[in-house]
Amino acid sequence: MNDDAYEGARLDKNDVVLKTTDLEKAFGGLVATDGVSIEVDRGTITGMIGPNGAGKSTLFNLISGFYENDAGHVTVNGEEVTDLEPHERARKGLVRTFQTPRRLEGMSVREAMLVGPGPQKGESIFSLFFSGSDVTEEERANIEQTRELLERFEIGHLIDQPSTDLSGGQMKLVELARAFTTDPDILLLDEPVAGVNPTLANDIKRFIRELNEEGQTFLIIEHDMPFIMDLADPIIVLDQGKVLMEGSPDEVRSDDRVIEAYLGGAGP
Amino acid sequence: MIPLQISPFQYVANGVVFSSIIVLAAIGLSLVYSIADFANFAHGDLMTVGAFSALFSVGFLRPMLGDAGVFGLPLWFFLALAFGMGAAAVISVITDRVIYQPVKGSDSIGLLISSIGVALVYRALVFLSFGTEAERYGVPRQGPIPWVRETLGIAVTPRNLVVVTLTIVLVTALHLTLTRTTLGRKMRATADNADLARVSGIRTSEVILAMWLIGGALAAAGGVFLGLEELVRPRMGFDILLIVFAAVILGGIGSVYGAMLGGFVIGMVHELVPLFYQWGISPVGSRYAAAVAFVIMVAILLVRPSGIAGDSG
C-alpha cells in the first residue's frame, strides 16, 4: 500500500539528507529531547509520531535551528549545520512549516507566496536602484511560478484573496506551496493536516505524494494516524524525548512498545 | 564641591534605600511582563499615581490623627502609604478592565503601545489634580540617627530605616504569598507558562486580578517611598521607569525573584556611580547615573538576554 513511498526511496537508497546525532535539549529540569539520532533518506516521506509531550515539536525546532541544542549535531547533505541560524539552515535546503501558520496581515496570497523564493535580487536595496531590470525579470518569473504552483495545488482562484481570509486548510496548502518555492532538499512539515477538513486533507496527501514522486524528501509530524500511516514510510516513533523505534507503518502498528507508549501517554 | 570626604559606606547606605524603591517597582513590572506578557510602560506613572494618592489622603488623615508617631514617623504617614497602595491597586485593575482587556487582538505589542497612552493619561490626571509643582508629604525633618553616625560615620535617618524595613516586610509577604498559598502557586505557574496553566484548569482571570492588585500596590509603595526620600513630582515615576526596566531585564524577564535581585543591583549601582567616579572606575559622574543603568542593560542584552536569573540561552 506504500508503493509510492517505496518508489521514491529506491531512487537513492543510501543517500542521507538529514541526520541528527545525539541531540539533547532540556528546559529547566525537564529533558525534552534526550539523545535523539535519526536519519532521513533522500526521496522518502519520513513520518514522525509519538504521544503528546514526546518531544516531536522540540526536535523540529532543534533541527530547524529555532532552539539551540544542549548537545549533539545536525547535518544536512553531510554538512554540519548545528551552529547555524534558522535562516542559514533554510538556505542549506532545510525548510520547515509551522503547526499553526500565522496570517500575514495585509498580504494577498500572491504576496504571501512571493516571499518564498530566495534569496531574491529585489531583497537588496542596492539592486532596487541600480539593477531594476534584473529585479523586474526575477519578479516576473516568481509571479509566474506562483501562479503555476497555486494552479497545481488547485487553489489558483485564491491568488488575489487577502491571506487573512483563507480557511485553515487553504492556508496549509499555501504554506506547502510556498515552502516548495524555496527549492528545499528536505521539507519538514509540522502537522500538515491538523484542523483541516477530510477532503482537503486528502488533497494535501495527494500533493505531498506527487511532489515526493518528483524527488522531494519530507519529514512529517502528524497526529492523524490514518493519514501518516498511509503516506509515510519509514515512520519514527518518539516517546519521552527518545526514539522508541523506527520502521514501516506495519511494523509500527504491530509494535507493543508503541501501543504501550500511546496508552501510557494517555494515562496520568 | 564637597569639601569633606564622604564615607564609601554612605553611598552603600544610600544604595540600599534606593534599591528598596527599585525592587518594589521592579516586582510589579516583572509580574505584568510574565503574566500579561507585555512591557508595561505605564508602570512608572502608576508609581506616581500611588504617590499622589497618598499625598491626597494626607490632607484628611493628618488632621484626624495629629502628630502621634511610630518608628520616628507620624502615624498618618503609614496610613497614607496604605491608602496610596490601595488606590494604585484599584486603579491598575480598573485600567486593565477598561483599557487593556478590550484592546483588539490583545497582542503584546498592541498592549505595549496602549500602555504608553495610559502612562500619558495617568500623568495628565496627576497634573490636572495636583498641579505641576513638586510636593512634600510634610513629614517633619529628622536628623541622622546619632549612634549610627558615631559608630559608622554615615548619616542614616529614621525614614531611611522605615523605607528599608517596610520593603523587607512587603517582599517577605509577597514571597510567602507566592510559595505558601494556592493563589501564589497559580501565579507562578501562569508566569512560567500561561497556556499550560490555562489548560491545566487555572482560572487565569483570578491570577490576572491578583497580579494587578499586587503589582499596583507595590508600585505605589515604591512611589511613596521615593516621594518620601526625595519629592513627590508628577514625572517621578516616568523618570525612573528606565531604571526599573533595566532591573527587570537584568533579573531576567518573568522572574519575580530575578526582578528583586536585579532591582537591588541596579539600585546600588545607581547610587554608587559617584563613588566609582571618584575611584576612577566609572568614566562618568552622578549626572549619568541613569545612563549607567542603561549601559548595564544593553550589556546584559548583548551577553545574556535572559538575565542573571533566567534560563541560559
Binding site: F66, E85, P86, H87, E88, A90, V95, R96, P101, R102, R103, L104, E105, G106, M107, R110, V115, G118, P119, K121, G122, E123, I125, L128, F129, S133, V135, T136, E139, I143, R147, D160, P162, D165 | F41, I99, I109, G110, L112, I113, I116, G117, V118, L120, V121, A124, L125, F127, L128, T132, L242, F245, A246, I249, R287, A291, A293, F294, M297, V298
Partner: protein, 374 residues
Amino acid sequence: MSAVSSWVSETLVRDATERRIFAVLGLITVLLVVGVLTGVIGPRFLLFQIALVGMYALLSLGLNVQWGYAGLINFSVAAFWGIGAYCAALLTAPNSPLGLGLHPVFGFLAAIVVSAFIAVLIGIPTLRLREDYLAIASLGLAEVIRAIILNERRWTAGSSGISGIPNLMSWLPLTDAATTAAIVVFLIAVVYLFLRRVHRSPWGRVLRTIRSDEDLAKALGKNTYLFKMQAFVIGSVIMAIAGAFYAHLNLYIDPSDLVPLTTFYIWIAVILGGTGSNRGAVVGAAVVIAIREGTRFLNDIGFIQTLGIDLAPLRLLFVGGLIILIMRFRQDGLLPPKDELIWPAARDESSTGGASPSGAVPDGGTSSNGGDDR
C-alpha cells in the same frame, strides 16, 4: 489634467472612506488659501506651518519604515531628530561651541552618518531579541542622548541652546519662509519616492512578513536581523534629516524638544495615519500639527486664559487618550496600506494573465483585496 486626476485616483484615493478623508483635507486647504488671500492668516505663518508639517511628515515617514514596515518599536524618535538637529547646528552655526560655520551640506551629511552609526549601535543588542527590547532600549537611548546634550555644555551649549544657525539656500529669489517650505516639500518628495520604491519590492515584502511572523521569514531563509537593521537605520536617518532641516527652519535649537512627548506625537501621526502606509504617515503628521498648534492657539484666546486652565496637561491627556482610542477602535488608522508589495514593473506586464494589481480590479475586487478597512 485628466492624467493628473487619474494619477490621484489611482495612487492616492482608493475607496469611499478615503475620498471623504481627502475631501476634508481638500476643504481645509481651500480654507487656508482663502484665509491667506483675505489676510486672516499671514502667509509667513502659513509657510512656517507647512514647513513644520513637512518636518513631522519626514519624522512620520521615518517611523513608518521602522514600525509600519518592519514592526520595530522605536521610542527614540525625538533623539534621532535631536541628533540631526545638533549635527546641523554644531557644524553650521558660527557661534556654536564648535564654532565651525561650515556649509549646511556638511550638517546634513553629519546627521546622516551619526544617526546611522547610533542606530546600528542600538540595533546590535536589541534586534535579535523580542520586539519589546528595542522599545525599552530606545527609550533609554533617548534619555541618554538628552542627558548628554544637557550636560556636555562644552560641546553642546547645554540648555541654553544654539542660535545663529544659517538659513538654507538664501540665494534663492524667495522669502526665507518660502524657501524653507520649498525645501521641505522637495525633501518629502525625495524620501517619499525612495520609500515607495523600496517598499513595493521584494525587500518591503520581507519586512511585512517579519512584522506578521518573524519565525516564518526565518524559516524561509531570510536573514531577518539584517532586514530589521536596514529598516531601523533607514528610518533613523530620515528622522535625523528631519532634525537637520528643523535646525535650519527654526534657526535655534535647544534640548527642550527632545522629550519623549515629541516621540509620542510622531507615534500618533503614524498609527492614526495608518501603520505601514506612507500616505497615511504624511496625513497623520498634518493632523498632529493641527492638534498641537490648535491647542496652542486655544491658549491665546482670552476666555480660556481667564479660566486659569493650563492647557499642557490637557494636551497630554488628549495625546494619551488618542493613543488608547486608536489602539482600541481603529488600529488600521485613517489610510491603511492598500498596496500589494509587488515590484510595479513586473506587475504591469503580468496583469493580463490574471495577476492584476489591486488598483486595477473592479470595485468588488478592490475591497476584498485591501484587507479589512471597515
